[in-house]
């Protein structure tokens, strides 16, 4: 149990550190560094405790139940390989933290840097420790996102932004492929547990989907590990601060890809296709990277291509497969991380102290920075594969595999030659790095006067170089046990134990190494000057740039083609869009109902009532007339709309729905006022628009009439078909039976709203609140059309005194209606649980009462007397409704469980006092707030326009007097 918790802490720790670092003040350089360093040290301490069980081949697992109902858990596992990798990440992480403390300048927002770095570390550990394939992909994408943030840390620099974006697009795109691969793997194996997938190699390889899975998986791994042809994001990412490069391109980001290749090689590898694709890509990347690295003039560019090349080497080994190759791959991951981190840091020191990274300008620095120079020379030796250094040993193992392993294919036969060529170039670019920067005459025209860096900035490099030496001389004693444990955890138990030794006698790999050293040295000696004069890249090939192709493609994919497609199939015409929507709805409706026995036997039939029929003759006439008049006679259309609404309201009352009738009537009122307020801002339309008489407009109207008639007939037929069938017993019966016993109310509709389905109502009132706020926000920026600002024609020529007595009697009545309406609203509210009424209708009533006051007098008069704060009403309503719901938790019930009882109040008698009533109070308050907010906000536009007018008039008066 304690192991499980420690494992979870190990994953969580960096994320906690990230959040903590993010909260530090901007100038807390040391604090942020200490925090990050200690977090990583804590992780290392946990790992130290895990060494014993892991080295004995045990796998430590930690599981957090997440959604146990569908078997979705967060599971983590730590085996030998993961242990080695996590240790590597955290160790180099600490050194990077220390280095960055001195590298970053005082003006950089440092806590943000450490926060991103910690979060990135956490995501990386997540990849390494995931026990579930889908979680692995999630962490994988997280590393893409955090590396984007890290690479773009200096976001003022356009190169950094471009580099970060390219890295994100490429690696996250690969992540999507990886997700697809993992989903397919999960389908093939029947589980997303990593253990199951890794043990099902035979099933996976025999499956018909093996090839697509493999290709998708490899795209994921290759993009992350910067393999050809996806390699170009890595040099672009060199715009990052050097500590980021040292971390991302040595131990973490790019190594995630090869980690995955090695981890999944038992499951996916072992076939000829795998060998050709993986080893082939690896070898191309190895040679291409090495050749380009020689021709780069930028120090970090050289190191970037060298990284690509070494990743190719590891990929090639993963493609070969087998215990010896995997061991070599794991070993080279460690060695490369150590020497490349130290080289990046050394390059950073040179950049920091001289002000340039251009090798053509740098020269003879060994004289002014002898210690840094010596360290860089040793590290570059490791990169080149010089004996007695760590890079040599794993490279020997690679060469031994290239020579000794056979499957008889042409690629296999070519391997030793290709490996030797790549090694020659590796030696040559390492020699160039050392030769051009540290030897020769001391450069004179550097931006800064070079000197040794602060001690603590150099310490990480010193330590890493020391490791290069120790591992290089005593490989078996230092890393033998750990590497074998890692190998066993990848390849399964019973893997033979390998002795890692420096000396294997004069064999072919040693000959190849020596040949490479000699030839590489010669190559640099002969071509060094020519290379320095040449372009940034190999002759001819420097013109083919992955970055250029990528940008060409991105421009088309993200800008040109989408616009072309949009121009072709899209439209900005709302009218057309609405027509398409209506036609689609029609088509779907017909498709669903065609041949479904549409009109069945009639089972239920209410005898037609003449009064009802006449009512609807009026209603239908109103609707048709409204449609006819809406263009040129808006006010008439509005009145007719009200007629149709009233008939609808009567229909509700007729068919036993008193609640609906009440609400519809009130809402009808408010809607009409609302639209009346809006009329003021529409353009005047006295004469007919000429184009309306033309043929295209006529055709469109007839065509729309056909659509509308078909839709209306369809809806009518559907309604008729359903209404004439018997009602099947449904959930409504349950509501009826239990409204009183469970909800404590006799008005079932209200009980459903505030008790049984209160959560729905909660959602509804939230929507109402959002709409209210949106209306308010939209109107704050409202600019009326110029011709609507002037006073309307009806007001012109009338003096304020005349307007003062306008509708005097009516306004007196309206004023006195205010308390009456409040009583009506209170009645509607309190009886709502038992009789028609409730929070909705009470709320609209109060809103109407307020509205009447606005109509009765004028805005200024009313606002001097009553202060309505609609937003507070809304907030109060939402809070009450939410609090009632949460209150149920206190008694151990689910959200919004209601409690009902009746209490005896003096004078009033038995009153329902359900907690649902409090919820209804929230509904009421919110409806009041939202309705009043919308109405007042729109009504106020007139006031604003009037104020603008007054201000203008005053300004003109001032002008005249002046």
């Amino acid at each position: 149990m304690i192991e499980q918790n420690l494992l979870l802490i190990l994953v969580l720790l960096p994320f906690v550190g990230a959040v903590a670092a993010a909260t530090l003040p901007v100038n807390a350089h040391s604090a942020a560094a200490w925090l990050s360093g200690l977090t990583m040290a804590g992780g290392l301490a946990i790992l130290a405790g895990f060494y014993d069980p892991v080295s004995q081949g045990l796998v430590i697992r930690g599981t957090v139940q997440w959604v146990p109902a569908i078997g979705l858990n967060l599971s983590f596992r730590l085996d030998g390989f993961a242990w080695l990798f996590v240790t590597l990440v955290l160790s180099i992480g600490i050194l990077v933290v220390l280095y960055a403390r001195y590298y970053l300048s005082k003006t950089d927002p440092v806590p943000r840097f450490y926060s991103f770095l910690m979060a990135f570390t956490g995501a990386m550990l997540g990849i390494l420790l995931s026990g579930n394939a889908l979680m692995l992909v999630v962490f994988w994408e997280l590393t893409s996102i955090f590396s984007f943030l890290l690479i773009g840390y200096w976001h003022g620099n356009p190169n950094a932004r471009d580099g970060a974006r390219t890295a994100l697009v490429i690696t996250a795109g690969g992540g999507v492929c990886l997700l697809a691969a993992m989903l397919l793997l999960g389908q093939i194996v029947g589980s997303y547990q990593l253990d199951r997938i890794l043990n099902s190699g035979d099933i996976i390889r025999a499956h018909p989907l093996y090839l697509p899975v493999m290709v998708l998986f490899l795209i994921g791994a290759f993009t992350k590990s910067a393999q050809f042809p996806f390699h170009f994001w890595l040099p672009g990412a060199m715009a990052a601060p050097t500590p980021v490069s040292a971390f991302l391109h040595s131990a973490t980001m790019v190594k995630a890809g090869v980690f995955l290749l090695i981890r999944f090689s038992p499951a996916l590898g072992g076939t000829d296709t795998w060998f050709y694709v993986v080893t082939g890509t690896g070898m191309i990347t190895l040679i291409m990277g090495a050749v380009i690295a020689l021709f780069r003039h930028d120090l970090k560019g050289l190191l970037a291509y060298s990284t690509i090349s070494h990743l190719g080497l590891i990929t090639a080994l993963a493609g070969i497969g087998g215990s010896a190759a995997i061991l070599a791959a794991i070993f080279h991951i460690v060695n490369h991380a150590v020497f490349k981190a130290s080289l990046f840091m050394a390059a950073g020191i040179i950049d920091h102290e001289t002000g340039t990274r251009d090798m053509r300008r740098l020269s003879g620095l060994i004289r002014v920075m002898p210690i840094t120079g010596a360290l860089a020379i040793v590290a570059a030796g490791a990169m080149a594969g010089v004996p007695l250094l760590n890079g040599f040993i794993s490279k020997e193992m690679f060469l031994a595999e290239a020579v000794g392993w056979h499957n008889g294919t042409w690629l296999d036969n070519a391997l030793p030659w290709l490996a030797t060529v790549a090694s020659i170039f590796a030696v040559a670019y390492s020699a160039r790095f050392i030769g051009s920067v540290f030897f020769g005459p001391l450069a004179t025209d550097l931006p800064k006067k070079p000197h040794e860096p602060p001690h603590w900035m150099r310490r990480p490099v010193e330590l890493l170089v020391l490791i290069c030496l120790i591992v290089g001389i005593l490989p078996g004693q230092t890393l033998g046990a750990v590497l074998n444990a890692a190998l066993a955890s990848v390849m399964g138990r019973g893997t033979e134990h390998y002795d890692i030794a420096l000396w294997h006698g004069f064999n072919e790999p040693l000959m190849m190494s020596l040949l490479a050293l000699a030839a590489g040295g010669l190559l640099y000696a002969l071509t060094g000057r020519w290379v320095a004069r040449g372009p940034e890249g190999p002759p001819f090939f420097h013109m083919i740039r992955g970055q250029k192709i990528y940008e060409w493609l991105m421009l088309r994919l993200s800008w040109k083609w989408p616009r072309m497609i949009h121009g072709f199939v899209g439209t900005e015409k709302l009218q057309l869009q609405l027509r398409i929507m209506v036609l689609l709805a029609l088509a779907v409706g017909f498709a669903a109902l065609w041949n479904s026995g549409f009109i069945g036997p009639i089972a239920k039939w209410n005898t037609p009532n003449l009064a009802f029929g006449l009512m609807w003759v009026v209603g239908a006439s109103c609707a048709i007339a409204a449609a006819w008049q809406a263009k040129y006679h808006r006010f008439a259309a509005l009145v007719l709309l009200g007629g149709a609404g009233t008939i609808t309201c009567l229909t509700f009352a007729w068919f036993s729905a008193p609640d609906l009738a009440v609400t519809q009537l009130l809402v009808e009122l408010v809607t009409t006022v609302l639209l009346l307020l809006g009329l003021r801002w529409l353009p005047r339309r006295r004469s007919e628009i000429a184009a309306d008489r033309l043929l295209p407009a006529r055709i469109r109207r007839i065509w729309d009439l056909v659509i509308a008639s078909v839709a209306g007939a369809g809806l009518a037929a559907m309604a008729y078909a359903v209404m004439t069938r018997p009602l099947v017993p449904n959930i409504g019966d349950w509501f009826l039976r239990n409204a009183y016993y469970e909800g404590g109310g006799t008005n079932t509709v209200n009980v459903i709203l505030v008790d049984f389905r209160a959560f729905d109502t909660f959602g509804e009132i939230t929507v109402l609140a959002i709409v209210g706020l949106t209306v308010f926000a939209l109107l704050r920026r409202f600019r009326p059309a110029p011709e609507s600002i002037a006073a309307p024609a009806q007001q012109r020529g009338s003096t304020p005194k005349m307007l003062g007595n306008y509708l005097l009697i009516a306004s007196m009545i309206m004023k006195y209606m205010f308390p009456v309406l409040i009583v009506v609203a209170a009645d509607l509210f309190f009886r709502g649980h038992d009789l028609p009424g409730g929070g909705f209708s009470a709320g609209v009533t109060i809103a109407t009462a307020l509205l009447l006051q606005y109509l009765a007098t004028n805005v200024r008069w009313i606002e001097a007397r009553i202060t309505v704060l609609p937003i507070r009403w809304m907030g109060f309503g939402l809070l009450i409704a939410g609090a009632t719901g949460i209150g149920a938790w206190a008694f151990g019930y689910p959200f919004l469980t209601a409690h009902a009882r009746y209490i005896d109040l003096p004078l009033i008698g038995k009153t329902p006092a359900a907690t649902a009533l409090i919820f209804d109070l929230g509904v009421f308050s919110l409806v009041v707030g939202a309705t009043v907010l919308m109405l007042i906000a729109i009504a106020h536009q007139s006031l604003r326009a009037a104020r603008m007018r007054e201000a203008e008039e005053e300004a003109e008066k001032k002008k005249e007097t002046a």
Binding site: G619, L682, P683, P696, A716, A739, T748
Partner: protein, 113 residues
């Protein structure tokens, strides 16, 4: 009754849809209001038509559900009425803003016909 109400739903919705396809914002807003009546009545009618039996229960005792109107469509329509008011208000404001910004009340934002 069923025939009258379904014809009413048909006419309301046809008028609403025809207005929905018209070029002026005010026409569309009236159309939406008409359409919301039609849809509310349609949903309401799914509970069948019952006269004089509102779903108000006695306090206690046995309840025979067939003697009352179906309360569920009523509850659905009640919130729908309030929400359709909210959308009308929202649309009205968008209409006003669009008129102020584009200088026309054409739904496409360009005065063409």
């Amino acid at each position: 009754m069923e025939l009258i109400l379904s014809a009413a739903i048909g006419i309301l919705s046809a008028s609403g849809i025809w207005l929905l396809l018209r070029p002026r914002t005010f026409q569309v807003i009236i159309g939406l209001a008409l359409l919301s009546y039609a849809v509310n009545l349609f949903i309401f009618s799914m509970g069948r038509l019952t006269v004089g039996q509102p779903p108000i229960m006695p306090k206690g005792g046995f309840v025979d559900p067939t003697r009352y109107a179906d309360p569920l469509p009523q509850a659905l329509v009640l919130t729908a009425i309030v929400i359709s008011f909210a959308t009308t208000a929202l649309f009205l404001v968008v209409m006003m803003a669009s008129r102020g910004m584009t200088g026309t009340d054409h739904v496409d934002g360009k005065d063409k016909d």
